[in-house]
């Protein structure tokens, strides 16, 4: 791996930038690995990176049925925050946020983490009470979150329609200043490059077709479109396709896969200073460094693997955005797309061992997995390396649904879904 620095940039400039090496190799699969990660998205690549970087496991492969950055990692709206209500969630997402803060340096790759502030708007009395409860709960957990009056919201984000005629007026907002955005592709590429440099094989265009198990029940390896690969341990991080992959090992999970849509506008000059979220009228918006307004819409009603959703879902979000930010009424939309998100009944992830020895699963991030990428990778790598969950992900088991120990962010109104 050639390190990126001012000097290397200068040197390459002299050669017309023709001699940069590939950022990661494209190796043939080895017959056997200590650990195989199924799914080359941000979470899977981060898992492989931390396995090599922190837990000394370098005989690792990441298998990806498509290409790196082609799944949900390249399809989300890049919002990063950690102001979750419950202690378990707060610990998990805050662990990730702390890693975000040093990630560009650690990976030697600019992931463009931009803590520009995430403002969650309250539109009714219930929102106000719920968000204030979040602010207090977050502060007890050492997480920054503050309550802003409507006027303070306007000062923080001038384009907002405060005090105007709105069906759901802005009654205030909860602001996490350390929240913000990052460049999602760069996260995937940066982790892939850094993991590759530490010896991890990244196998693209390699679809898992089956999971082979020994008579003892333990995993032996995976059947793939590029042949059988023996594996000591298998970590499944397949987002919307987790149910399909886990079924191959005979494990049924409390997951349903839904299409989640996003869209971007034509690029314009810097006009929107922060991330604004409104769960009540369902709108998420921020401006990318390219100038596009990045807009998150909702999930479709039905389960699907089609990676596209219906127009009325996107229209609903645009209606809300035009009310919130009237100047965007003249903005034209450029592209829209969908990704498949796996949702658990309590809207909290599963990062855990499974009943099958040697098989681990990291799934159920639903509509909000991007923000957790570094933390999820780190605790999942720990879980695989030590065959025991990290204290942070210990509550996020499969068995919590049997035992009734939910982490019920679904009911904690301020979580975006």
């Amino acid at each position: 791996m050639r390190r990126f620095s001012a000097i290397s940039l200068f040197r390459e400039a002299l050669g017309g930038h023709e001699t940069w090496p590939r950022q990661w190799r494209s190796p043939e699969p080895k017959p056997a690995y200590d650990v195989v990660i199924v799914g080359g998205g941000g979470h899977g690549l981060a898992t492989a990176f931390y396995l090599a970087e922190r837990y000394g496991l370098t005989n690792v492969a990441v298998v990806e049925k498509g290409w790196i950055g082609g799944g949900n990692t390249g399809r989300n709206t890049t919002i990063i925050r950690s102001n979750y209500l419950f202690d378990e969630s707060a610990r998990l997402y805050e662990h990730a946020l702390k890693l975000w803060e040093g990630l560009s340096q650690q990976l030697n790759y600019n992931v463009m983490y931009s803590p520009r502030g995430v403002l969650m708007l309250a539109h009714n009395i219930h929102d106000v009470q719920s968000f204030k409860r979040h602010v207090h709960a977050n502060r007890l957990n050492g997480i920054d979150n503050e309550w802003l009056s409507p006027q303070e919201c306007k000062e923080f984000c001038p384009p907002l329609n405060v005090g105007g005629a709105m069906r759901y007026p802005i009654l205030g907002g909860a602001l996490q200043r350390r929240g913000g955005t990052a460049r999602h592709d760069a996260v995937a590429w940066g982790y892939a490059r850094a993991a590759d440099a530490r010896g991890v094989d990244i196998l693209e265009n390699c679809e898992v077709l089956g999971i082979r198990r020994a008579a003892s029940g333990r995993v032996e390896g995976i059947e793939t479109s590029r042949g059988f690969i023996r594996a000591g341990k298998i970590g499944v991080v397949a987002a919307g396709n987790t149910s399909v992959v886990m079924n191959m090992a005979g494990v049924r999970l409390p997951l349903e896969s839904f299409p989640l849509q996003a869209l971007v506008s034509e690029p314009v000059k810097p006009a929107f200073p922060c991330v604004v979220m409104s769960n009540t009228i369902h709108a998420y918006i921020s401006q990318s460094d390219k100038g596009e307004m990045v807009i998150g819409a909702g999930t479709d009603a039905y389960t699907s693997y089609s990676q596209r959703g219906a127009l009325h879902i996107a229209t609903h979000t645009l209606d809300a955005i035009c009310e919130l930010v009237p100047m965007f009424r003249r903005l034209r939309m450029l592209r829209n797309w969908g990704g498949i998100v796996d949702v658990t009944p309590d809207r909290s992830p599963i990062v855990a061992k499974t009943p099958v020895p040697g098989l681990y699963v990291n799934c159920g991030w639903g509509t909000g997995g991007f923000k957790a990428t570094p933390g999820s990778g780190d605790v999942f790598a720990w879980t695989i390396a030590k065959d025991d969950p990290h204290p942070i992900n210990a509550p996020f088991t499969i068995e919590r649904f049997r035992d009734g120990v939910m982490i019920d962010e679904a009911a904690a109104a301020a979580v975006a879904h």
């Binding site: 149910s243 389960t303 219906a310």
Partner: protein, 107 residues
């Protein structure tokens, strides 16, 4: 947007309907005898297949009646719609059948 054929009213846009989740999950016959594992399976485990999926829809802005739909989740193409109580045109999920034989629930 899906075009869904309500078995009572005919083809209508998806906006008239609400989704009711996976179909053919029957309440256990003897709930008191179920262990935690089986309760979790009944309440939370879903087959979530990539392919043929049997699901409930309700024509909420029409006749307001529930019915079943078989849809291919890979393409979103609707294969069949049929009334509650009718035989599914194609066989349902084997995992669900296995569970129903274990827990005594009728599909």
């Amino acid at each position: 947007m899906l075009l869904i054929k309500c078995p009572f009213c005919g083809p209508r846009p998806e906006l008239e309907f609400s989704y009711g989740g996976q179909a053919h999950i029957a309440r256990p016959k003897d709930p008191a005898s179920l262990d935690d594992e089986s309760w979790a399976e009944y309440l939370y485990i879903r087959s979530n297949p990539k392919g043929l999926h049997a699901e409930r829809w309700r024509h909420i802005h029409g006749c307001a009646r529930f019915f079943n739909v078989q849809r291919n989740t890979a393409s979103d193409a609707i294969v069949a719609t049929y009334k509650i109580g009718e035989e599914p045109p194609k066989p349902v999920d084997p995992g669900l059948e296995e569970w129903s034989s274990r827990s005594g629930a009728a599909l």
